[in-house]
Point group: C2
Chain length 336, copies 2
Amino acid sequence: MGRMLGKQSVVFDNPPYIIEGASIVGQKEGEGPLGKLFDVVEQDPMLGRDTWEEAESLLQKEAIQKVLFKSNMNKEDIRYIFAGDLLGQLIATTFGILEFEIPFFGLYGACSTMGEALSMAAITVDGGNADNVIAIASSHFASAERQFRFPLAYGNQRPYSATWTVTGCGSVIVSRQKGFAKISGLTTGKIVDFGVKDAQNMGACMAPAASDTIYQHFQDFNTRPEDYDKIITGDLGVVGKTILFDLLNEKGYDISKQHMDCGIEMFDAGTQDTHAGGSGCGCSATVLTGYVFRQIRKKAFKKVLFIPTGALMSPVSFNEGNSVPGIAHCVQIEIA
Amino acid sequence: MGRMLGKQSVVFDNPPYIIEGASIVGQKEGEGPLGKLFDVVEQDPMLGRDTWEEAESLLQKEAIQKVLFKSNMNKEDIRYIFAGDLLGQLIATTFGILEFEIPFFGLYGACSTMGEALSMAAITVDGGNADNVIAIASSHFASAERQFRFPLAYGNQRPYSATWTVTGCGSVIVSRQKGFAKISGLTTGKIVDFGVKDAQNMGACMAPAASDTIYQHFQDFNTRPEDYDKIITGDLGVVGKTILFDLLNEKGYDISKQHMDCGIEMFDAGTQDTHAGGSGCGCSATVLTGYVFRQIRKKAFKKVLFIPTGALMSPVSFNEGNSVPGIAHCVQIEIA
């Protein structure tokens, strides 16, 4: 059973376990600083398919196959899939997971989706409703550009505040069976809107939400930054990171020693021309499964906060002049 | 605690309660056969706003305010919102619920979203993770037409198999406190693809998923249609209903006596020119909260299955020639 803690958190007295993770990325991600840590690097951005959306679906399919293989499980062992992507109506997910015939909860949390999926997975397993479930999230550079920005062939310029959508998919099996890590608590984010309207500066849109959730986590759990080996945001990038530090400093918390941002780690901005960093739900999902899980297995990280952040916008809301609110979901992961 | 049952179901031994529901609809829905049963009928399709999307957001805001008012609760009493709509990146939801500052899980299940939201709400409350949560889903005729079909001004013709997206929003408070009804079990749907590519015939796309989930529910719970006062699908319409009956008959189940479809009930197709029936996540959400809950309170219905169905497609997937897979989530609701 879970237990409500403080204003917006949950603590699990018998935490559900993480037994395995898998990560599939594209070529550019494979050439980045973390490249060697991912399970699969796909060299063809189309993955042999006809459309970017089908390519992204295939990333999801491969990430499920891989995590099942690594954990020595069959699809019949999985009770639910909690999954999402960035595309309208979650079509990358729909066509990616279809053939597994596993009961499915579709989630949309923009780039925070992996945090949302792990949260729902943990709640569901903890409550006795499932033995094993998969949490998964994907993004693809080209399907996201088509969805949110300009046709690739247009060759638009990108400001330095812009992030680069990661081509990648990360999958995690959350289970009642003992694993290498456990999900010991959650702090679920609310939507935070600072009125930022610049969709090319999503770090600035999301940083207030990250600050809000991290601050609330410290309050609810009565902890300090020093209590964690790492405090891992999703894809704030270099602009959002600065804003996050400023906002948390105002509230009396300095997380600069513990902080890492998956978007900043993913690429070498100097040589890969990715500007503020990586983004997309595949960014935090693959850095979690490719890098963070390895560090936990090696006991280099014993207790971390994983806080992917999402920018809540659509082409329609942007064109209608709306702001870009943010959301961030915090998942507390500890060595088992 | 929940308990896994059969292949894809959950049964709650101490079921979470439904303490209140609220329904907001548009003018056309207000003029339909169920019109007098909804809490609010908005006469202006724009709700005084500048865009259809903002109007839909306002439906969500009003449905939350109404359900809080009817249950004598404040927003501080609500631990989580489980919410979704049909629009890309859930923008109607984002801007509708923003100001309540309640931790938020964004869901996309197309027109099955209310079933998904009630499922996650029940799992979360049942597991001790929350005392009170809101499940909510909305749709708006004009924002959906803009998202999925043609500009309204184009005046396109609609085949008789087409459904009419309901302008409406239904909200439900699921709680640990005793209410008038309880959620006693769930059968969560998997994606089912019969290869139907006609996005103007969503009943045909969704009926196989409804059949799959209902059949599995009977198997997992070892029940028959006679065990329920009503078996309520979301928005199959007249075409989908026929297919559903055929598919279940093939498997040895005749649900014709117990079945009702929210989409068929919502409009008088003869006088309202709505063809196959109503659709959209607001359809099943408002018929559940406006009509079904009243019947349960009156003890006219003592045990029902609520099975909203979703057609999983986007403008991109449709234009790329993909099929329209379906999904259906079954929620078993009983008098408390």
